[in-house]
Amino acid sequence: MGSLKDSAVSGSNPLDSPVKQIQIDGLVVLKIIKHYQEEGQGSEVVQGVLLGLVVEDRLEITNCFPFPQHTEDDVDFDEVQYQMEMMRSLRHVNIDHLHVGWYQSTYYGSFVSRALLDSQFSYQHAIEESVVLIYDPIKTAQGSLCLKAYRLTPKLMEICKEKDFSPETLKKACVGYEHMLEEVPIVIKNSHLINVLLLDLQEKSMVADKHELLNLSSSNHLEKSLQLLMDRVDGMSQEIVKYNSYCRNLSKQQQQKQQYLQRRQQENTQRQSRGEPPLPEEDINKMFKPPQAPPRMDTLLIAGQVNNYCQNIKAFTSQNLGKLFMAEALQGHSS
């Protein structure tokens, strides 16, 4: 945890968003990490609430608390009640009690899901400046703290508000998987006293402690990522097949409709020539009900997830390659 400051600036510029930067207290980061270490294992996910306040266009997150892990069978547990209670208690000890978002741990970067989308939407709908912090414990264990803040783009907010995920609306809104989430830059800020302590610690820490970073390849990590990626690709394939069959049905029906209209027209002209009144117009849409279009949101999410995985793998492999080259060079040097 040598880095004082970890920021990942995303390319998208959140101009129209009320939050342009996030400033996180060291305390929050540590609390999140601790939460995961205590309660999360493997692919299990831990979640919690972020507290803080907005200062100009900067969101300061000063504290957080975890959601308790609860099992299926205790039904009477009321999450909202718990949150309110918690916030009230925190207020009593004079801590920022404004709800500004939530955090979640992730397993190999798999967090783009329907559940996340829905809850972030409801947060952002209620509290405009809400963010979701994604914490990747595995990467962190490898030596680099991985904490990212995301917000839904306004476009996606619109769509979610409409609850209309048909291909047409998505096309109209020009929402691609790239435009679903926007990443907000994060700054970790500590009090001066803590900074002093850290500097002090840095002095004392051994060199070996930092060598986690140089750990050479773990194909295990890659395999896991690949597995997850494959799973998502399968999902994508299925979605495409679904969409494909929908398209085919649609075009088939269009054809039928055309044929029907043509026939009707012919008949009408015949009738006209015979001097009979034309056939009454019928509701064509009733006769040819268009097939139900498959919702495209899942596809989008999968695409986003796949993108995420790819990015992860890319980062990982490029890092590893670098390390390998380094190792080669070192070996050459030493021999």
Binding site: M230, V233, D234, M236, S237, Y243, C247, R248
Partner: protein, 956 residues
């Protein structure tokens, strides 16, 4: 009452009137019996013969009487009931009515009834007083009669014009009949005055007495007893009606009840009267019998003396009667007429037939008649059980066998008897004459039936009891009979019959293992002298017999079923005696596999049995794959027991009802023909193990690996699920444990699990050539373990000495060499052989798991792209679109990539790099085996760099 009268008349006219067929038959059979015992020519003349018309009319008058009575007491529901009965009776005797015209009394009743009803209908007050049922009945009856009377309008009208005349006519009729009955009575009185004076209590004894007098009369009296209560019921109505009559028709219902109470004390008297009347009637019948008996006075005298029932026999024929053919046949027909009728004592019938056979034998009536009687005895033996599911009793069965034996004896001794089922009854020639006998009947059917009965007996005996063994001993006799019949029919029968009897013979042969032939083929002599003798007396091998019989059927049979059965039995027999190639060829030639599903269930069961036997045979011969394939169908369903007809499954109890269950039970194969299910399963699992374990090892990373045997995998999973693994107990556990050992290439453990004391006693000792099978099995285990070992651990080795391998698996070097060569040729093992040093050099080209995964991903992405293109095509239309420009290039290539895997089956993804190493491997072999680490590395590099595009190219 009506019934009583009807039946009474029925009995009397049994022989003379043909119209009696339509009379109600409640007690008819008992009288038939009587007739059968008493029918002598003389009797017929003395009998009172009444025409059908009389009978009918009597029935009518009875009903009418009841209706009138009911009318008197205003019992409308009774009226309605009776009217309906009348209507029915009328319809029945329509033919007579057409001939004779509608009787006057009938019309009169109709008219009266209508009037009466109308009158009642008008009487509003009376109607109100009626209870609900009566009121309802009244309205329905009124409607009915109105409708009904329309048919008789003219008659009724004429009657109404002139009621007296017709009434008189009827009166006369009545008087006539009454007087006649009276005279009867008188006669009865004079003849049997003693009996008449008997007190009531003794009445019950009367039937018994009459039983001694006359064997069948008891039945009649019994039936009378039965009806007594009924009669009383109607009598009481009578009395009620009469009493009401005294009071006048206007009396209300309440009065009726009161009246009835008063009547109470009158009843006993009436009853007594009634009984007396009935008594008279009985006597009348008795007397009749006496009259009948007069002809054979002597016989009857004896009986009067209280001679036991056994002595019935002699009275079959009157003493003085000359017993000749005609008489015996007549008697036989009489006995046969009772056959199948309700109430016939079947065992008595059999007795009678036996007696008849004895008589005809005594009197030397010739073989013809004897054969005919025998036929009938056997048939009635079969008839003894009315229920199809029930089986014959032991003594019946013994008797049946004896009879058939005797029949065959006669047939063999007298070659001049023609029997056949299509000889008409009247063209039979039973008398001794110059002409040969002609007898109707089919010995083949009887024997077939006997065989079925035998199966039924075996099905219904507990297979673990001594009884079963005893019953099974009869199998020899059954076979003997079939053999004799076969001889007989070969000389006399038509080809169809011969085919049928051959099939029977085959059915009794195919499942038996011919130990003698087996021993002979092994070159062993019987150990003791007696056995040798037996061998000699045995004659042909069963194989030769089977061959002869089946070939005859193949050539001559015209019904598909017999041929199919014969083929299946033939295959089964071949398979049982380890003649695998003959069995397989026959199975393939018959094309039964294609159309067996159209056959009936028993044939399908036979087919399943045959397939199973074929599979076991293949296993014994070491054809593991064939064995597995043959057994797969039966074993994979998990219903082997049901499919082989060796028991019902409990679990679909709710799916079938009792009826189906009965049918299924009838299909079961008797226990001595069962195929050992454990053996079957073990053979299947072991062959699955020998196939599946190497396959699993070879395709460890293959995402698209298919299971060879689901059943086997299931067993493995069950084994894995166990929390604690003890030493194996059951056969399945043994196989699972052996599979696990084999997975590691540990053939010795595997061997010890498959072949040990427990498994020997459970399974392997059941084979006739136990030792040979075990040797084969050991060998197979060694080979397959070697393969598994190479698949599993090849990545660990750089090179492997074949000598080490041959030591490890205790196989000869050439065998090891051949197995490895085969694997290399089949591209299962990436290695090459180094001849001078006798080593296997691994190419180390198996992809790592990450590489495997990447390849899978690539494949999936290919699929994704293709799907995507399809969507795009749809959008753009097939022509045009800027992607089409590329289609010749990139996309097409991708398609190639897609297609190639399909052609190559299991090894799809590896294609690209696999080729190269192989080529290089071959090349290197020629080069003098200069392969070293570097070569391997290069190849790997080649693979890694090769990537996508290279693969595409090399796949072309």
């Amino acid at each position: 009452m009506s019934r009583f009268f009807a039946t009474g008349s029925d009995s009397e006219s049994e022989e003379s009137s043909s119209a009696d067929e339509i009379t109600p038959k409640a007690t008819g059979t008992t009288f038939n019996k009587q007739a059968l015992l008493l029918s002598d020519d003389e009797e017929d003349t003395k009998r009172v013969v009444r025409s059908a018309k009389d009978k009918r009319f009597e029935e009518f008058t009875n009903i009418i009487k009841t209706i009138r009575n009911a009318m008197k007491i205003r019992d409308m529901s009774k009226c309605l009931e009776e009217f309906e009965q009348l209507y029915r009776a009328f319809l029945k005797s329509k033919t007579i009515m057409d001939k004779e015209g509608v009787p006057q009394f009938y019309i009169r009743l109709l008219a009266d009834l209508e009037d009466y009803l109308n009158q009642l209908w008008e009487d509003k007050e009376g109607k109100k007083k009626m209870n609900k049922n009566n009121a309802k009945a009244l309205s329905t009856l009124r409607q009915k009669i109105r409708k009904y009377n329309k048919d008789f309008e003219t008659e009724i009208a004429s009657y109404k014009e002139n009621p007296e005349q017709s009434a008189e006519e009827e009166e006369k009729d009545d008087i006539g009949s009454a007087s006649s009955s009276k005279s009867d009575d008188d006669e009865g009185v004079t003849a049997k005055s003693l009996m008449k004076k008997k007190p009531q209590e003794e009445e019950k004894k009367a039937p018994e007495a009459s039983k001694f007098l006359k064997g069948a009369a008891d039945e009649e009296s019994e039936s009378e007893d039965d009806e007594e209560s009924e009669d009383w019921g109607s009598d009481s109505v009578d009395s009620g009606g009469e009493s009401e009559d005294n009071e006048g028709a206007a009396a209300s219902l309440a009065v009726v009840f009161l009246k009835k109470a008063q009547d109470g004390d009158k009843h006993p008297e009436r009853k007594k009267d009634d009984r007396r009347k009935r008594h008279k009637k009985m006597e009348q019948v008795d007397e009749e019998a006496d009259e009948e008996g007069e002809g054979e006075e002597g016989g009857w005298e004896k009986v009067k003396g209280g001679v036991p029932l056994v002595k019935e026999k002699p009275k079959m024929f009157a003493k003085g009667t000359e017993i000749n053919n005609a008489v015996v046949i007549k008697k036989l027909n009489e006995i046969l007429q009772a056959r199948g009728k309700k109430g016939t004592d079947r065992s008595a019938q059999i007795e009678l037939l036996h007696a008849l056979a004895g008589i005809s034998n005594e009197n030397n009536l010739g073989e013809g008649i004897l054969v005919k009687i025998k036929f009938n005895i056997i048939a009635s033996l079969y008839d003894y059980n009315t229920n199809l599911a029930a089986f014959m009793k032991a003594e019946m069965w013994k008797k049946c066998l004896e009879c058939i034996d005797e029949l065959l004896d006669i047939l063999f001794e007298n070659s001049n008897i023609f029997i056949g089922e299509n000889i008409a009854e009247d063209s039979e020639n039973l008398a001794i004459s110059d002409q040969p006998f002609r007898v109707r009947g089919c010995i083949l059917t009887l024997v077939e039936r006997m065989d079925e009965e035998f199966t039924k007996i075996m099905q219904n005996t507990d297979p673990h009891s001594q009884e079963y063994v005893d019953n099974l001993k009869d199998e020899g006799r059954v076979c003997g009979i079939i053999d004799r019949l076969l001889q007989y029919l070969e000389s006399k029968g038509s080809t169809e019959e011969v085919c049928r009897v051959y099939l029977r013979r085959i059915m009794h042969t195919y499942y038996k293992f011919d130990y003698k032939a087996h021993r002979r083929s092994l070159g062993l002599q019987g150990e003791t002298k007696s056995e040798q003798d037996q061998e000699e007396s045995e004659g042909e091998d069963s194989a030769i017999i089977m061959d002869r019989l089946c070939k005859f059927i193949y050539a001559k049979d015209r019904t598909d079923r017999i041929r199919t059965c014969a083929i299946l039995c033939h295959i089964y027999h071949h398979a049982l005696h380890s003649r695998w190639y003959q069995a397989r060829d026959l199975m393939l030639m018959s094309h039964l596999q294609d159309n067996i599903q159209h056959a009936d269930p028993p044939v399908q069961i036979l087919y399943n049995r045959t397939m199973v036997q074929l599979g076991i045979c293949a296993f014994r011969q070491g054809m593991i794959k064939d064995a597995h394939n043959a057994l797969l169908d039966i074993q994979s369903s998990g219903r082997a027991k049901e499919l082989l007809g060796q028991g019902l499954l409990m679990r679909n109890m709710q799916e079938r009802n009792a009826e189906q269950e009965k049918i299924e039970k009838r299909r079961q194969v008797p226990f001595h023909m069962h195929i050992n299910l454990e053996l079957l399963e073990c053979v299947y699992l072991v062959s699955a193990m020998l196939l599946e374990i190497p396959y699993m090892a070879a395709h460890e990373f293959d995402a698209r690996r298919r299971m060879i045997s689901k059943q086997f995998h299931h067993q493995l999973r069950v084994g894995e699920r166990q929390p604690l693994l003890g030493p194996p107990e059951s056969m399945r556990e043994h196989v699972v444990a052996a599979s696990k050992a084999m997975k590691m290439g540990d053939w010795k453990t595997c061997h010890s699990f498959i072949i040990n004391e427990k498994m020997n006693s459970k399974v392997w000792d059941l084979f006739p050539e136990t030792q040979r099978v075990r040797e084969m099995l050991v060998r197979k285990i060694q080979e397959e373990s070697l393969r598994t070992y190479l698949f599993t651990y090849s990545s660990v080795y750089d090179s492997l000495s074949m000598e080490t391998l041959s030591e490890m698996f205790e196989l000869e070097l050439p065998t090891v060499h051949s197995i490895i060569s085969k694997m290399i040729i089949n591209e299962e093992l990436m290695a090459s052989l180094d001849q001078p040093t006798q080593t296997v050099v691994m190419h180390r080209t198996e992809p790592t798991s990450l590489q495997n995964m990447t390849l899978q991903l690539a494949e999936k992405l290919g699929g994704l792209v293709e799907n995507n293109e399809r969507v795009f095509d749809l959008k753009q239309g097939v022509y045009g679109g800027y992607f089409n420009r590329d289609q010749k290039g990139g996309y097409q290539q991708k398609q190639n990539y897609q297609r190639a895997p399909d052609q190559r089956g299991g090894y799809q993804q590896k294609q690209g790099y696999q080729r190269a190493p192989d080529q290089r491997g071959g090349y290197q072999q020629k080069q003098g085996y200069q392969r070293d680490q570097k070569g391997g590395y290069q190849q790997r590099q080649n693979y890694q760099r090769g990537g996508y595009r290279n693969q595409n190219q090399s796949s072309y």
